[in-house]
Homo-oligomer: 426 residues x 2
């Protein structure tokens, strides 16, 4: 063997330090040539590392001709995008955990990498430590994928699990999660579903070899879920999870979205609780396979980053053009994403009404008029204020029709409030 | 692009026909050059295939210089072993679903492949459609694996699930499974654990880069599991599963075995029922990831076989030495396997005794004398014949000590029978 493959690490925050410790703990067949981070104090935490390989200037790393692979671990779009582009132009392979960057600028970066005959691997960008990108590209490559459904965000899964177990309100559990470090000070990206949207967009691009515009992905967070909904879901045989969903039907339109769902307890994804993530892939010929595990965290994410580094490193000595399977198809088309109002789902609708005769009959009539079959209706006694809480579960219906029905229901004189509308996965 | 990669398919039984149909249904970037099967009738099922590419002579395929990849789908050791060796000598890459062959002759075949600069891929040999071989080699390559625990056989999982749901005896469920085609006419390989042993040996070789002698793997089947045990397990918070287990501790000895276990309902593997398989991998830095799905069957197995074919086909045009990550380490050492009596486990012991004073005290004394701490003891009333059924759950203890204690218990005058001894996984 000749000289070891040289790696540059850009950023030693949480993920970067996990990557560094993993590379120091195990012989991964590579050598750390340079580490760049703006914070000069960080390097002092690693007595095993010579201070000379540390720099505060990213460009020292990007311009080092001996570095074969750059691991970008600073996150966010700026300045990561510029750094990666510069490194690619300098013929460096890229490994990144940056889901936002891949979701927003993947096409541009992949094309640039292709022109420069390098690859970009990003196993860690989707579900942290769970192998999902490589299996989709390799072991499952023979499949025509019909559905991908996953719990792609650990923070929201933790919150929903806590709400379920303790019957607590969303806001209270969120505060607790922030105090424990399971949710960030600004939790918007997680609880509003944007983090999961990046991941489902990346999976959709990959599984269908199309460019998915992140802005066309419908996103709804978990902030409107109440313990009352979780309780009813439980009685009806469901758990509420934030689901990243891709469905590929007969039309050319790809259905890609993130929103809370009632997930049947019979569905394996429903069993994935706390901060864990899971992705279930359905396709022919495989039928259904599921991958589950830690979707984030310093060390699980490092597992995937270092796995990617090793995959490139193992191929560089033998070929000019490594990992053909990870190369980008320059003819990749833009995906047409189905509008949420055109999607077909089952629905959970919770309504508060006055306690008047004929209320349930009216709900039934409105649904029927809009072509919606009801699967079940639950009303159990009256609330303290004399109102009635009614929960409807529908059969499959087009969202546009459901929205019309909900609008009509909310305009009924007896209706006090349509409290929630949640899609259902059996 | 030049000429497509040429594939030869050896055997069109269940898996072979699934592979053929998958290749015909989707553009996988390869061309079927020849199909060999002893049964000339089979080809007539595929009107889309020109009869000229069909042969009853394996050697026509093996000796065809244009074939790049041979998919061996006849199963068993003979004549598959000779066919594969001949094909490797003719510089063909091999894809196989043959677990018995890889478990028994892997080392010999991998060495021969290495000499001839070709690779052998066998994703389908372990857990059918579930990607596990490639993820272990690539995405999880950075990990120091400490444990692999899996449900690796669908037939036994189906039988145990049925026994649990219906409270039926093993023999009755087996007969039913045979009638339904879920168990073979000769079910020995499945119910005695040999099929799972091939798979756990393959996973151990791969995860620890050592040659594992299949004869040194301890194997125990499910034929002694009674619905009584399943009932007690349930009450204690466990399900009984046939588990393939690898543990890698501080010593040089690798602990590799297959036997039934009480698996805690908190453990994700316990939720995998019916014919499904699952593998949980524990290591640093990833912590724990689980893969689950269909472990057998025509189409799921075809998914993995064709995935392997595509992985090789994508690399052949770009390199002389494809898939470095799948190459065999010629310096790979033989694994030293820990003897089952030296393993450390928690145990479930079911004993039937006379209803005499001091019986439970005596059991406690015998366990204590052998250094075994008890975690719980259950005795609920008396059986119809006046005897007492006592269930012990121990803390972790060395198997040698447990066997001594069981021997002493069985020699107590009050003991009618030690009915079962089952290891426990929390």
């Amino acid at each position: 063997m000749g000289k070891k493959i040289q790696v540059g690490i850009l950023g030693i925050g949480t993920v970067g330090s996990g990557v560094l410790e993993t590379l120091l703990n195990k012989d991964c067949g590579v050598e750390i040539k340079k580490i760049a981070d703006r914070d000069t104090e960080k390097i002092k935490q690693y007595p095993g590392i010579s201070p000379e390989i540390f720099t505060t200037e990213a460009h020292e790393l990007i311009n080092d001709p001996e570095i074969n692979i750059m691991a970008e671990l600073i996150g966010g779009v700026n300045p990561a995008l510029d750094f990666i582009k510069a490194a690619i132009k300098n013929k460096k392979h890229i490994v990144t955990a940056n889901k936002e960057l891949i979701a927003k600028h993947g096409k541009e970066l992949f094309e640039l990498a292709e022109e420069n005959n390098v690859v970009i691997l990003y196993e860690a960008a989707v579900c942290g430590g769970i192998p999902i990108i490589m299996p989709l590209r390799q072991s499952l490559a023979a499949n025509k994928i019909s559905q991908i459904a996953g719990i792609l965000n650990g923070t929201t899964n933790y919150i929903l699990t806590k709400m379920e177990h303790e019957g607590s309100e969303f806001e209270d559990v969120l505060k607790e999660a922030q105090a424990l470090g399971y949710a960030e000070a600004d939790p918007t990206g997680d609880v509003k579903g944007h983090d999961a949207a990046y991941k489902i967009a990346i999976l959709a691009s990959l599984a269908f070899n199309k460019n998915v515009d992140i802005n066309s992905v419908y996103v709804e967070g978990i902030d409107k879920i109440s313990p009352i909904d979780i309780g009813y879901a439980n009685e009806l045989g469901y758990k509420i999870k934030l689901i990243g969903l891709i469905r590929n039907g007969e039309s050319d339109l790809l259905d890609v979205r993130v929103h809370p769902m009632l997930v049947s307890k019979e569905h394996p994804v429903s069993a994935i609780d706390d901060v864990l993530n899971a992705v279930e892939i359905e396709g022919e010929p495989v039928s259904r396979v599921m991958f589950s595990g830690p979707g984030a965290g310093k060390f699980p994410t490092a597992s995937s980053v270092v796995g990617d580094i090793m995959a490139i490193a193992s191929e560089i000595p033998t070929t000019e053009f490594p990992l053909p399977v990870m190369h980008f198809d320059k003819n990749r088309k833009d995906a047409c994403i189905k509008h949420i109002k055109d999607t077909v789902n089952k629905y959970y609708i919770r309504v508060t009404t006055n306690n008047e005769p004929g209320v349930i009959g009216d709900l039934g009539i409105i649904c029927g008029k809009n072509g919606i079959n009801l699967y079940s209706i639950v009303q159990k006694g009256l609330l303290k204020d004399g109102s009635a809480r009614i929960v409807l579960l529908t059969e499959s219906a087009q969202e546009e029709n459901i929205l019309k029905a909900v609008d009509e229901i909310s305009q009924q004189p007896a209706t006090r409030e349509v409290n929630n509308l949640i899609r259902v996965m059996d």
